[in-house]
Amino acid sequence: MTKTRTGLIRLPLVRWLTAEGSVVLVISLLWSLESRLAGYSALIGGLIFVIPSAYFAHRVFRHQGARNASLMVGDLFRAESIKLALTAVFFAAVFILMEPVHVPALLFTFAVMVAISPALRWFLRSKPQR
């Protein structure tokens, strides 16, 4: 686990984002074999997951340490509410503003990212130093 001078953990946020972005790109490329619109929609679906998720990670880890436990939990709740709201707003914006859209590619990529992202974060998490 990478620690800063103050003893706080430096998160592998960049590694998480890079891994999630790579998976989104791979899925988009696979969908683009069907059509260009499907690949574009898949990319949008992945971004709808990655952007609120990056905000969530940034917000949750604003406070660290046992002294800030209540702030940590408060931030967890606020970040989750904002993440769900952002996801809903992004979906609404895509369905209203983006015409045409390949809905199966969009929802499939989003669902795949939601399913595999905790696994990615588990494998890329910071390891504690003994």
Partner: protein, 75 residues
């Protein structure tokens, strides 16, 4: 049309309720464990973050489907 809206409302409402209960339990356990072992606080926070990702997986997909129902099927 009304049935689609009702379906979307049920998806969003139950998803929000379940997420609220789950996050309440998760946050409570995080506070409890941090009070018990303060030196583990950072590791517990990282594990809570990963569990939060698992916890909100189904409601997130529900939000996507509900928005599809509202803006594409009913719209």
């Amino acid at each position: 049309m009304e049935m689609v809206m009702i379906a979307a409302s049920i998806i969003l409402g139950l998803g929000a309720l379940a997420t609220g209960i789950g996050f309440g339990l998760l946050g409570g356990k995080l506070l409890e464990s941090t009070a018990r072992q303060p030196e583990m606080a950072n590791q517990l926070q990282t594990k809570t973050f990963i569990m939060a990702g698992l916890l909100d997986a189904v409601p997130m997909i529900g939000v996507g489907i509900a928005m599809y129902l509202i803006f594409v099927v009913a719209g």
